[in-house]
Amino acid sequence: MTADPDPHVADLPAGAEPPPRVPEDWLAVLLGGLVLLATLAVVYAGRPADLDRRVAEHTQAKSTLKELQKFGAASKDELKAASDEADKRKKAIAPNPAAAYLATPGTWDANPADSLEKKGKSVLTGIAGAFVVSLVIFSLGVWLMGHSVGRFAPAFVGLFLLAWLAYVLAGQKVIEHYGLEYVLWALVVGLLTSNTVGTPEWLRPAVRTEFYIKTGLVLLGAEVLFSRLLSLGVPGVFVSWITTPIVLITTYLFGQYVLRLPSRSLNLVISADMSVCGVSAAIATGAACRAKREEVSLAIALSLVFTVAMMVIMPAVIRAVGMDEVVAGAWLGGTIDSTGAVAAAGELVGPKALDVAATVKMIQNILIGAVAFCVAVYWVTHVDRTAGGPRPSVAEIWRRFPKFVLGFVAASAAFSALYATGTAGEATAAAVTDVTGKVLRGWFFCLAFVSIGLESDFRSLSKQLAGGKPLILYVCGQTLNLCLSLLMAWLMFKVVFPNAAR
């Protein structure tokens, strides 16, 4: 995120590692790409012999669902059962053998040991598998950088254990169900360590925030499926892809010219996470504009605090005014930052609101790809240049451009193309990202945020809040978002396309 090619090296004591032989960005593209290809190979190798039969069964299950929807007499439970069946049949088309060996901890209520199970099955093997894969991937990266794997590997064990702890904290049911995501607890775990006993020297070789973030972002690219853009038709695109850029740009300009925030990168990251989709947008935008770690942390903390408030307040407002469920779902999806919180808020309103809210948010999630790319281009051509100097040449733009964004975009393009090939392609893309996205990407981001915490202190974090301008920016931007999203949701789903999503 910072402009230094390998900032953690500069913080190490004398005798520290030299600059990497291979740039980190390219390593992230290479390693992220390897993980995606390897997972795709595993899914392909595990394809069932009776593929055609399974596709036919899915088609049959979809027909049953469509019949129930057509006549409109089916209950909510019947529709849910039918759609669950169709989804189960689709997943059976492309099983992923690796899924049994890669996992994150589960949720728990009063006993943290319950996090070692998910749906009655132990995840200990899966967590061990995630550790081994992560260790191998990042050790390869460290070796290619020309750094000591002998120092990195034991340090990585310590870092992974801290990340595991963060996941366990995030998995407590009240925390999980009120949308306080694992990245927050990863930051807390790192901060508590560095601000009490200090980050031990033996742990420092594994503290590589940018490396973990960039590799995770390449994996995230595979989940950015442009083929799903029209899931809600034109109205969904208007709510998600027209309103969002307007809010993002307006908020950024407000921050620059009215509030005069001293840091453009902080301004951009807050504008993006508030208008697009919360934490994932903050991470992607922060990496694209080389924001400071503390800036990304502050933006995420602001987003999560307001997410909790909005996911409780907005459904209550919707019920109080008797808002139409479809319009309500579109409003929730277009405004609440966190994807999971959007779904929870939608569920509180009703089944149709859940469907519309989750779909609007999914379409907004897809915008991350375009935002990260545009931010990177804007940053390199307009911001990250010598004041008063000539416009950078194409070669200079290429030199400064964060190359991992290319990996992110390439992964998105490849998997969007795969998804668009049909039912088998959709199932295959989902099978791959079930492992690379849900599991490995999660661990990589968790490792990154523990690293941020280990490299930060409370004073540097609190400095970012100076004058309260970031908070004012967020509140003003979110107010605009709430108003514009509601107007667009009403216009699209009530006036222009009243039968959409019904």
Binding site: K62, Y178, V183, G198, S231, V279, L348, T359, M362, G437
Partner: protein, 72 residues
């Protein structure tokens, strides 16, 4: 870049205190909050619907596949 001049860490006592606060919150306070009727109802509804409020991206929502089938 020179090393950042950071304040001295709080020491092992501060870590012990922080761990004690975390442990009390997570092992006592949060389960107590989770035992309230409305909170339990809310959690059970989410679990039944396949909704994970802690999901960062849409692919992490268990119900997204079924939602996609309904919305197509």
């Amino acid at each position: 870049m020179p090393p950042v001049d950071r304040p001295r860490p709080g020491g092992p006592a501060a870590l012990v205190l922080a761990v004690a606060v975390l442990a009390t919150t997570w092992l006592v306070v949060l389960p107590w909050i989770g035992s309230f009727g409305p909170v339990q109802t809310y959690v059970h509804r989410n679990e039944a619907a396949g909704v994970n409020p802690g999901a960062m991206y849409y692919t992490e929502i268990d119900a997204i596949g079924a939602i996609g089938e309904r919305m197509e």
